[in-house]
Symmetry: D2
Subunit: 136 residues, 4 copies
């Protein structure tokens, strides 16, 4: 399967990414770029984007980017720093960078920016690689 086929298959059935309104901007082997618009129901008690929304966008980016390497990939450990307030109406874009691609593990940095190209979150994720997407 190609990276695009893998991500399409994952995305089509991904109910939460669809609730988020995630759009796929780019997919390549080991790379993915997603965007979404922050809606009022995604905000917390301070009327700013809930940390779980930004994390979810980055986590979907991690899932798509890591599986696009060709093996099923399971998240082991992720960390996120929320570096700037997210406002309702913001258009967020998450871009992956493959930091390490090993035999068993891959590590990605994912940067989330707003429509002004300001960084709103820095995310790092480590995945464990399992069987190939081509295996039955």
């Amino acid at each position: 399967m190609t990276p695009q086929e893998i991500v399409t298959r994952m995305y089509e059935k991904d109910a939460f990414s669809q609730w988020l309104g995630v759009r796929i901007l780019e997919v390549d082997q080991g790379h993915c770029r997603l965007s979404m618009r922050v809606r009022p129901e995604m905000c917390n008690g301070f009327h700013i984007g809930h940390g779980g929304i930004t994390y979810a966008l980055a986590d979907s980016t991690l899932a798509f980017a890591s599986n696009s390497l060709g093996q099923h990939a399971v998240s082991i450990e992720t960390s996120i720093s929320h570096t700037r307030i997210v406002q309702p109406g913001d258009l967020l874009t998450a871009t992956s960078q493959l930091l390490k691609d090993g035999r068993n593990l891959a590590i990605f940095q994912i940067t989330v920016t707003n429509q002004k190209e300001e960084t709103v979150a820095l995310f790092k994720g480590t995945v464990l690689k399992q069987k190939s997407w081509d295996e039955k």
Copy 2:
């Protein structure tokens, strides 16, 4: 303001925690325990709970527990390990433990379990303390 008043004020306006169906089980100074049921629209392409859902529950727990110390608290850095698959229908409970309460910073461990009391995620969060909830 009491811990309960702070958390009530935060929760009442927290649209995303309400979308998640978060219920507040316990609040005390520097402590919080929340639960929620995983619905189908919270699942990813593998029909299991999206990592963003578990993170969001833990992040709300961090927000409530840290603000209940009496000062406005802003998340600096969080990390999460998803240690067991979350199934649709699972009832998740997130419980905070205050690891460190310093002058400027507080650190919490948050453990998320399912209805069988199996740990599904381990979350650590660091917050920066700001002005008191009693200040105008």
Copy 3:
């Protein structure tokens, strides 16, 4: 091999743990407790314990505790928060807690305290399990 045999074999050849003056207080399956005294040459430009010293003690604890489960274990991701200043002369003790023991991965929390039983660092480590210590 028993947990004690595994740790003894690792420790005997571990030149840096010996430079640190690490003493093994307890070893059990999936558990380890180490101590060491902070010497002046372990301090930084502020005349306090260098972060690398506390990390190294915790990292040795992780290595011994995780290998004592019976499989070769390789560190994947570690994080540490230095929560209190370490002074020259302090006697540090690192105690492991096994948070998760899976088929491929194990996660440990390691708490480092001083001689007053004050926590000086919180460390979390994830390891990948490989072949058994009994295999040739």
Copy 4:
């Protein structure tokens, strides 16, 4: 004080960085690049570089880079992934990248490479900024 003056003052008294044999390759405002050679006494029971050595080099880089911004900076949270084995004799170089420079906090990515320019570790550190180096 200039970035160079701050780092010189920190380094001159930093006994552990000197034990490590750290050399300062570059210092600029919010940036630092250090190198060191791995000696046999820095290795663990597998005769490879102890994780604490690589961490210590990255942590010194974080300390110098963050203080060079002009305010005293205290490490809050650090994480490191050891992505490739370090051999005795390796020449390690740690290079900082300033990811976020806020009013209270700064976040750095530090990449450690060997003499073949292979990445051996990825480090992220968050610091809390305190009083200016120019204040008495």
